[in-house]
Structure formats: C-alpha cells, structure tokens
C-alpha cells in the first residue's frame, strides 16, 4: 500500500505575537502576487500597474491626501462594524446606516440653514447624522436584544430600504432635499456654515483626524472602561455575564446603537466634507460594506482599523486613477481588495493551527 502525505492541522495553544502582524502583512503581499499573475495573464505589466497604483494611492502628495480623505468614511464604517463584531453582533447593515447618516446630516444642514455659526452647525450635522444611523439600527437592535432575532438579516434588509429612502428623497418631486423646480436628480448643497473646508486644494477634510481620534478613543473604551469590560465578558461567555449580574440585553442594545451611530457619522462626514449634499451616487460606492472587510482585516482592533482603512482607501483611489492614467481596467483595485480579504481570512488558519505534512501510517493488514 502507498503511504500518501497527509496535511495535518494541529491547533495552537497560543498564537505567537509576531504572527498577528505577519499574517496580515503576508496576506497583502500574497494578494498582490496573485493580482500580478492575473495582470500578466491579461497582458498588463504588474510592475507598472503597481507602481502607478502606489504613486496614485500613497506616495504622491495628491494620492495620499485623496486616500486619507476617502479613508475618513471607510474608518467610520470600519469601526462601526468592529464595534458590533467584537461582541459577536453582526451588523452588516453599516451601508444603510451610512445612507441614513447622510440623510440626517443633510436634513440638519438644510433645515437649520445659514442661521447658525459653523462651530455649532458642524457638530450638529455630525450629531444628527449619527443619530439617524442609530435610529436605523434601533429596530434590529431591539429585537436582537429582546427576542434574539438575527441582526444579520434585519440590518441587511434595512439597507435596501435605506437605499430606496435615498432615492425617494432625491427623485420625488418637491422633496425637501432638492432644489425646487430642478429637473436634475441631485440633492441641494448644504449651506457654507455646515461645510468644512478641505486642506488646500486636496480632498482631505479635518473630519479625518476626528475619526482617527474616535477610533483611538473606542480602543480605550473597550480596554479600560466598565462598559468595555462588560462587552468583553458577554462576547466571550454570556453565561459568565449572567452569573456576574451583567445585563446582556441592555449592553447588546447599546453596542448596536453605537455601531449604527458610527456608520451614520460616516454619512454625515460626507455631508460636511466632500459631498455637501444628499447624493444618490452613494448607493453605488459600497463604503458601508467595505467597512466589514476593513474590520475583518484589522481583526476588530480599532487602532489597526485606521491602518486597514487607509490601505483600502489607497487601493481604491489608486485603482480608480489607473483607469484614467492608463488603460488598465478599474476593477483591478476591487479585485485586489477581494484578494486581500481572501488571503487574510485564509491566513487565519496559520494563526490558529500549526500546519505540517506527515506520511500517513500504513493501515492494518
């Protein structure tokens, strides 16, 4: 009888620290290699493509500012997803909460008009956007905490409702959000008092720093506060939480509402920043869904989300520009994002298991 080689997965007792950094790093490299092979097969030079992407996404001053600008909303949806994921609550409706954040932010900007000064208006718009995002997850959060209804289904389905809501507010005649008697299906610009100025002629807005700071604050909240402690206990062991008298229902509700608010904040940041209006184009960009990937790549670590958010923003904006500067298809950026996620998830196996090959033993008789 032949004795074939068998691959054995042996569970690790402990994941070495270096692997937590090494695995994501190698995943990105492996994805680039896989993407390179694909480029070669389709007749493009991987080196040229990547160096263009690198320059357009990261190393040129135009590129890096565009990337940081785009990363603002992606970090928002990333921390939104991670905040729920860390307690095993799968809010995958960040996309819809983002739309609501835009609607809420735009409403605040338009309704309050030019009557208030900027330093009141900007926080109000951001706050109302966050609030709208939280409202959008209120029902999924409530039924999840009381009845255990799957939040995966409810949050996802509400995203489609949210997209229809955006369309409704933009396309229905006489809508509050559009200019009266305009045939062009586009929201009205919010007044100047509700708009931030970008740095120089870049597309980087101060909201980037606010969001990055927020990610660090959340990191601290989870690691250091009583609220974070409760989240950790419930996430690991609901029975231990019950034993200790921790109210899991209330914590579930709070965590989901905060998660919704964070995605909403991303939408509102688009209002005070690059968009300035309720733009139906948002439903084509998938910023909310990208947050799921960004959170997964950062393994729900809030400070790491700043990095993975910027990485994704760079791939995206670099990829978008490729289309303009060369004739490389725009989808290379999207493909690389998918490849990175796949490799990162596959890499989990290396973190959890030691993998080695053994010669299978001979069967009896």
């Amino acid at each position: 009888m032949r004795s074939p080689i068998r691959i054995v997965f042996e569970q690790r007792n402990e994941t070495p620290k270096y692997l937590s950094t090494l695995v994501p790093l190698i995943s990105v490299i492996a994805a680039l290699v896989a993407g390179g092979l694909f480029l070669l097969a389709t007749g493009y030079s991987p080196i040229d493509t990547y160096s263009n992407m690198l320059s357009d996404g990261f190393t040129s001053s135009r590129g890096i500012t565009d990337t940081l600008g785009l990363s603002t909303v992606l970090i928002c949806t990333g921390i939104s997803a991670a905040f729920a994921f860390q307690m095993n609550l799968y809010n995958i409706g960040g996309e819809g909460q983002l739309y609501l954040g835009m609607i809420g932010g735009a409403w605040a900007g338009l309704a309050l008009g030019d009557r208030l000064p900027s330093f009141v208006m900007i926080p109000t718009v951001l706050l109302l956007g966050s609030l709208a995002g939280a409202v959008w997850i209120l029902i999924p959060a409530y039924v999840r905490s009381r009845l255990g209804t799957s939040e995966i289904v409810t949050t996802l389905l509400l995203t489609y409702v949210a997209a229809s809501l955006v369309d409704h507010f933009v396309y229905s005649p006489g809508s509050f959000f559009v200019t009266k008697n305009s045939a062009f299906p586009q929201g009205r610009l919010v007044p100047d008092s509700a708009s931030l100025t970008a740095f120089g002629d870049t597309s980087l807005y101060p909201t980037f720093f606010l969001v990055a700071l927020l990610a660090l604050v959340l990191y601290w909240v989870v690691k250091r506060t009583e609220f974070g402690y409760r989240i950790q206990v419930i996430a690991d062991s609901p029975r231990a939480a019950h034993y200790a008298g921790i109210n899991a229902n209330r914590t579930t509700l709070s965590v989901m509402l905060i998660s919704g608010a964070l995605s909403g904040l991303g939408g509102a940041a688009l209002i005070v920043g690059p968009f300035g209006r309720l733009d139906p184009g948002i439903t084509l960009l998938g910023y909310g869904y990208a947050g799921i990937v960004i959170a997964a790549l950062a393994r729900n670590n809030f400070s790491a989300i700043i990095v993975s958010g910027i990485l994704f923003a760079g791939l995206r904006s670099g990829g978008d520009k490729l289309q303009i500067s060369t004739d490389t298809p725009i989808h290379i950026g999207v493909m690389l994002q998918g490849a990175i996620l796949l490799f990162a998830l596959g890499g989990e196996a290396f973190r959890r298991y030691r993998i080695h090959a053994v010669r299978a033993e001979r069967a009896a008789q």
């Binding site: 690790r12 007792n13 402690y229 206990v233 062991s237 231990a240 019950h242 009896a364 008789q365």
Partner: protein
C-alpha cells in the same frame, strides 16, 4: 469476592509456561504538542483478568487506552495481541481484533431502542431488519454475561447505569474479548457501581479481559487483579493482588508524595441561620425542576447536597445565587429576602458562588486572572486594574496558583488552578464580606493534590464562620465533608441525615430514589 485467581486460560493459545497476554503494549511513546503523554509505557492484560490503569487526570491513562483500542496510533512502540504484533489503525481495526472501549461519555442514539443501538455499526445485517430476531440475539448475548437489559426499550428512557450496560453489551455483541472501561463509575450511584462490578466478574469468569481506567483508589482496590499506576506519562508502579493493596501506597505512586484527604468534621456549635430557603419550587417549561424545598444553613456549618446529576442541583444553586427566579417560595440570605433581586443583590448580602461550570460561567476564559477577579466585584466606570493588582498577586501567592502572574489568561490554567482562582475570588469577598458560600462540584476533575487544597480551603472557610452549601455528585466528598447531608432526588429533598452518622447505603438508596423516609 470469589474470583481471586486468574489461571483462566480458555484462549485459543496454549503455549507452554505462562498464558500469553491477551493484549500488551510495548514501550509505547505518544507525544502531543508540548506534552509527552506516554513515555515508554509497558502494559499487558491477561485473559480473565481485571488490570487497572490508575492515575490522575492528565497522567496518560486515556491516551494509552485510546491507543489500545485504535483511536490513536503510538509514535513509537507496538502492540501485541496474543503475542502477535498488530497495527490498530482505527477503532474498527481494534474491534476486528476483539478490542472495544466503553467511553465515559456514552455513544448511544437516544431515540433508538437498546437492540438497535447494539447492532449499530454491525456489517452483517440484512437490508430488512427482523426486529424480534435481533432483539432475541441481543438478549442472548446480554444474558450469557448476566447483564439484564430490555432490548426493546428506548435508550432515552434508561438510567445512566442501564445505558452503560447497553454499551457493554454492544461491545460484547461485536465480539469483544478485551473491554476497556474508561472511568465507568464516574456517572454511577453506589448501587449501580456494585451491579457493574458483578458484571465485570461475570465477564472475567467467561475469559474476557478488562482494562479498568480510574482515579478512584477505593474501587480500584476492590475490583483489580493488578494495578498499573501512571504519573506524568510514565509507569510509576505495578501492584498485584486483589484487596491486599494499601490505598496509601497507591496514592503515593499516583501523586508522588503522601496525601491526607480525610478532613475533620468541624463539630463546633453552629451559629445563626445564614441561608433560609422556604417552600422553594421551580418549574421550567411546565416541568417541575424543584419542588417544595425548605432548609437552612447556619454560620460555621457545611451542608452537603447529594444527588445524581440532573436532579435539580444546578437550578437550586442558581436560584440561591439569584440567577433564576423561583416559581414560588423564597430565599433569604443573612435574614434579608433575596428572591427575584438578581445576583448582585445576593452578593451584596454576602453570597459567594462557585458554579459547577468553572470556565465559561465562573470564569471568563479569554480574560486574565486579574480581570476575572473583577468579575463579581464593583468595577468603577474606568476599570481601575492597578489598584487590584497587589491583591491579585497576593491571592495567587496565598492560594498557590500556578500562573505567570495576574495577566495569565484563565483558559490557559489547569483545571485545578482555574478552580483555585475561582475559590480565591469567591472566598476573598467582593461586594461584601462572604457569609454564605455555595459551591458546586468543587473538586470535580481535579487531581488529588488540588483536591486536598480545595477541601482544606473549604474547611478554613467553615472554621471562619462562613455558612457553606456544598452541592456535589461525588458522594464520598459530600459524606466526608458535610455536617449535614440532604439528598436531592427529582427536585425534592428525600432524605436528611447528620454527616457523622450518615450511612453510604442509605444515602445511596435515597439518591437512586429508593427511599422516601426522613423527609426534611
């Protein structure tokens, strides 16, 4: 005991001199990541013999047994059957050589009948099953070894002892000549243990070999013809001769030092009533889990609740701890009502609770020792770990917890050390000084050394005037520690007796539901 000789040599081999071993292991080595589970272990069992593998948890008994039945393959060394070398690549190969294992956790289909379970996996069945013929065949096998079973009964309706018998009959039906029994008494009440031992004798008399795996010294001495003691994967001693063995000697071989397990019962006058339970009843989904339970526990008293698992122990403990609201009745701790007020209120009244499930309920597995100490305490809005740090260091030292420090993750502690962390937290008081300690199966799964420590800690707590409710399935433990014993059967207290004068037979009978006198 009648069967003291093992000259039975009914086997097919009649070689000159001593009968060949039915099964032997030669210099077996088995490694798991970071552990040498078996380090050149030699072991053999003769036909018609009971050979016990004795050792603490993690000593390597189950690993060796798994290799003897084909579940694992040794890294080096080999196995012989009747003197011939064999390779066991799977449990099925083991069965072909007449080797079968009866696992601690039964592998039966509850919705099938006994006969269906017994024939499950047999390959010589016709497509259409003739039920009555099968049942007759199963009965015939069972009766030839004095194992009475009802082949038509549904396994889900059987008691634990009966299910074990089904497993044994299944092994015999499949033609097993060598049976490996993995901790067979762990789940049985005393009367069932006696019955099992009778069955074992019947099997050895018929020439079967039994490999008995256990860590309970008393029963090992009673049942074994020979004993092989394992410690840390190595054989530390062989002892032969039934009933002649000194348990102290075995314990020393097992643990590596002298141990003292018998605790003195505190006979000091007990104080005021710390726990008062009145007419407590609990229905879950229309099923009565606890009915009309009333008893008190006094300061400085240890009350033991004996009973077979699943008779309401867990629910009783959870109700006292404020985790479950009773359907009717009341619980008072230090004179204040705690019914329906939740776990934090109960703790403020002086409750400490060591649940049966340590990792996952009592401790949060992914958290550090330090964070686990905070679980039942008052945490501030910003968790102040720095101020708890010195206490954590002190407790680790005081309770002799083997850990790298307060940051050691609970999941990575051994069972005994995890239990010590839990006890350290609960005994050291949290929201208020501990006055009532509810402990469930405090030594289950621990090795002898850790059991010794845990029992001493409970003793100290009692001497310090704490009221202790000890809920345990380990009858020996309840009997040797408690000042008063209550027997819980199907949610009711069916028997009450002072600890000193408690009779094993009476308490055992009450646990099995055979007695209703002495109602509390």
């Amino acid at each position: 005991m009648t069967n003291t000789s093992h000259e039975v040599a009914k086997g097919p081999h009649h070689e000159s001199g001593a009968a060949p071993s039915a099964l032997s292991a030669h210099s077996i080595v088995k490694r798991f990541p970071g552990v040498l589970a078996n380090d050149s272990v030699d072991f053999d069992v003769l036909p018609g013999e009971v050979h016990t593998l004795l050792g603490e948890n993690g000593a390597g008994k189950s690993t060796l047994a798994a290799m003897l039945c084909g579940l694992y393959q040794p890294d080096s060394g080999y196995i012989t059957r009747n003197g011939e070398r064999i390779a066991l690549s799977s449990p099925r190969a083991g069965l072909q050589h007449g080797i079968a294992m009866v696992h601690q956790h039964f592998r039966l289909v509850e919705r099938f009948t006994v006969a269906e379970n017994v024939i499950l996996g047999s390959r010589d069945l016709s497509f259409r099953l003739n039920r009555s013929e099968l049942e007759d065949r199963v009965s015939a096998v069972a009766e030839s070894y004095g194992l009475p079973i009802e082949p038509g009964a549904t396994v889900g309706d059987l008691s634990v002892g009966q299910r074990q018998r089904v497993e044994i009959v299944k092994a015999l039906y499949q033609g097993a000549e060598i049976l490996l029994l993995d901790e067979p008494t762990a789940v049985l009440v005393p009367a069932e243990v006696e019955k099992l031992f009778e069955n074992v004798h019947a099997m050895t008399q018929a020439g079967k070999s039994i490999v008995f795996i256990s860590h309970k010294l008393g029963e090992v001495v009673e049942i074994s013809d020979r004993v092989t003691v394992l410690r840390n994967g190595r054989v530390t001693g062989h002892v032969s001769g039934r009933g002649t063995t000194d348990t102290k000697e075995l314990a020393r071989l097992m643990v590596g030092r002298d141990i003292e397990l018998s605790t003195q019962r505190a006979s000091h006058a007990t104080g005021h009533e710390v726990l008062q339970i009145r007419d407590l009843s609990l229905n879950v989904g229309g099923v009565s889990v606890l009915s009309d339970i009333s008893f008190n526990v006094h300061a400085g008293e240890m009350v033991g609740i004996a009973g077979v698992a699943g008779n309401g122990q867990r629910e009783l403990a959870d109700t006292i701890a404020g985790l479950i609201s009773p359907t009717s009745g009341s619980v008072a701790i230090t004179g204040s009502m705690s019914t329906d007020r939740g776990p934090i209120h109960a703790r403020e009244l002086g409750l400490a609770y060591v649940p049966e499930d340590r990792l996952g309920m009592g401790l949060v597995p992914s958290m550090s020792i330090l964070d686990n100490l905070l679980l039942t305490r008052d945490r501030h809005i910003v968790v102040d770990r720095a101020s708890v740090q010195p206490e954590a260091v002190r407790l680790i030292d005081q309770f002799e917890i083997k850990a790298n420090g307060p940051e050691h993750i609970a999941r990575k502690l051994s069972g005994g050390n995890a239990q010590k962390v839990l006890l350290a937290r609960e005994l050291s008081g949290g929201r208020s000084a501990t006055k009532l300690l509810v402990v469930c199966s405090p030594t289950r799964g621990l090795d002898v050394g850790a059991i010794e420590t845990v029992r001493a800690l409970l003793d100290d707590a009692r001497s310090a005037g704490q009221a202790i409710l000890l809920i345990s399935e380990d009858l020996d433990e309840v009997m040797s520690l408690s000042d008063r014993i209550l027997v819980l059967y199907r949610g009711s207290i069916v028997h009450e007796t002072p600890g000193e004068s408690a009779q094993l037979a009476t308490v055992g009978a009450a646990m099995a539901g055979l007695s209703t006198e002495g109602n509390a």
